[in-house]
Symmetry: C2
Subunit: 373 residues, 2 copies
């Protein structure tokens, strides 16, 4: 038995799901698939928007294998509305939600031990099954993050898709670092992830430094919480500049909180070089490249380097609250595109031609910001 | 005003302190110095034993500068008896103590913030002032770890000197890792530090793997808590061997707890390669060499790498208790030498000619194990 959306609601239960399917390296096809029989704990979501992440580019163009065999519809940064629900998930019907990028099983040793991000049975849309570059997506209901039906002006449900990874991943990294208003936070990389990280850290009251090689990104970061923006190509001594800033900031936090959000080897080198006594280094971005570092500095500085594989679903409401409260601005950091342009958009992201994070929206109305639903 | 030891006690207040002084790189001289006027919070300790640490070798032969200018008496792994005390430290007089290798100031932001190991005003004997390769040493009284006057058979006060660094540093690394009886602990390097680490982890009930390139060390580790001993030169696939062991161990802890205790680049490479989902990597040993690692594995594995600069003094009593309770055996891992042999012993340690950690004892009686005082 499944629960369908009451007839009076605007959106409709799909006969088929239409999406952009990756069939082989760099090769896509538009696919139309039957949604299939829902299990009791699953829902079907009408996609409002799905963000394009570097991980998707890895799957599509860099030979990184998806866990589910191809063909597969990619996309794991999803916001939308529940239009069909399994027997035990009926309470979700009709609700606007963000789908966690990583959905833990909830029952294994890791989940019960408070480490859901390393659940071995975790479900990731666009990796374990068809994802969000589609009209609809079928996902487990557990961990869905409810979104208020009335959103503040300037925020649409489609835009909130990026909360599912680009916002919550740095949010979790910052949470684990124990950042407070007495700290200096340094973001190496002010792009898709770092731009949100800067805002979260500033929202928590920290004195924030943004480091990048792109003047536009630095300008955007300066306008959204970074008290100091450093161009790594122009600043001769990044560490001295950060130290001077820290002294002037009047903060007494123990050690810098450094967030590597560029996902590049050069960024990781810079981030590691910023370790000082008691420092916390968060590895948020990903690169397959190795880097040469003096690992013993962790010992000499009594420092910590920590990574996080996404964010536990129970932290999503806290991150979303910062967006709703206006502490995190999404609009200046994203650009909306129609789902039909998915393939061109992925190509453009692959070739670093887009300045902002791309969100694919099947419904044109969702591409308008500030629409009340 | 200072308090001297009552006349009836065996040990005496010194007219001069005699010790081996480092005067320049690789150059030593026997020095005799007046103890000087004690400040109210200082004590003079009659040294029972002082362990020789790799850090001393760095100061003496590898050009690593001490914070105090040369000439300087080295040595920071000290146990002994308080024979003279400043005005506010009179309660210590006559007591057997271990001197923490790093003594925090107790009042700065770091100390008050619960991070005493990164106190910038920390005092380290044999680095900030004359140390323990001497008949006596003058240190702040704060943080001294009291030692019971009646020690179990087989333990002498001189032997307990190694608690000050070789035991407490891995103890603190293990404490920070959150190790429990449900975990697999892997020690890369079963020498001076790793041998004690293996025993501490086994004492906490973990399933312990020791990895080294020295068959004698591995044999010693096997006899003192390591359920699996791997020779990295002979074992083709260390990671597979650890995984197989972990499966058979029946432990359900989240991720391996890996302790790099070799202080070598090769050991750090091995340790980093053992990261699995949720792993904790402790950098306990030190090497100035850089290593090439895929830092992003911290993110992909949701893992942590952490270093600790020694151990907070408030943890010393817990580590000492494991020694007193017999969970940590010291005797098989050390060799005692008379203080007069200090220079030859340092040379031998520098040239890796000693199998065990050397302890220098000014008083011949302390070189006998099991002496009751």
């Amino acid at each position: 038995m499944t629960t369908a959306l009451p007839a009076q609601r605007a959106c409709s239960v799909p006969a088929t799901i239409k999406g952009l399917s990756l069939v082989a390296n760099s090769q896509f096809e538009w696919a139309e698939r039957a949604p299939g029989e829902l299990s009791p704990d699953e829902v079907i979501i009408e996609v409002a928007g799905c963000g394009v992440c570097h991980t998707d580019i890895g799957f599509a163009y860099e030979g990184i294998p998806t866990r589910h065999v191809l063909p597969l519809i990619l996309g794991h940064e999803i916001a939308g509305r529940v239009v069909l629900a399994g027997d035990r998930a009926g309470n979700w019907i009709g609700r606007s939600v963000i789908v966690p990028a990583v959905i833990p099983c909830g029952t294994c040793d890791a989940c019960r031990g408070g480490r859901p991000t390393i659940c071995r049975k975790q479900f990731m849309p666009g990796n374990d099954a068809d994802g969000g570059f589609a009209t609809h997506v079928r996902v487990p209901a557990r961990g869905l993050c409810p979104v208020p039906e009335e959103l503040p002006r300037g925020i649409s449900l489609a835009m909130l898709s990026v909360v599912a990874d680009a916002v919550t991943t740095p949010y979790e990294a910052i949470r684990r670092s124990g950042l407070t208003a007495d700290d200096v936070a340094v973001f190496v990389g002010a792009g898709g992830i770092g731009g949100f990280g800067v805002q979260i850290a500033a929202g928590l009251g920290a004195a924030v430094v943004a480091i990048d090689v792109d003047a536009n990104r630095l300008e955007l970061a300066s306008g959204h919480g970074a008290a100091l923006a450093l161009n790594a190509r122009e600043c001769g001594d990044v560490k001295s500049a950060v130290r001077t800033f820290a002294k002037q900031s009047g903060r007494h936090g123990i050690g810098f909180k450094v967030f590597e959000t560029s996902g590049t080897a050069a960024g990781q080198q810079t981030a590691f070089s910023l370790l000082d006594p008691g420092a916390h280094l968060a590895i948020v971005g990903y690169t397959a490249q190795k880097v040469e570092v003096r690992l013993s500095n962790l010992m000499a500085f009594d420092a910590t380097a920590r990574g996080n594989w996404g964010c536990p679903p129970d932290q999503y409401p806290n991150a979303l609250a910062m967006v709703i409260d206006g502490k995190i601005q999404i609009q200046p950091f994203i650009e909306m595109h129609a789902l039909e342009e998915a393939q061109q958009v992925l190509e453009a992201v692959h070739h670093h031609q887009l300045r902002r994070r791309a969100v694919l929206a099947p419904q044109p109305r969702d591409t308008q910001q500030g629409t009340m639903r």
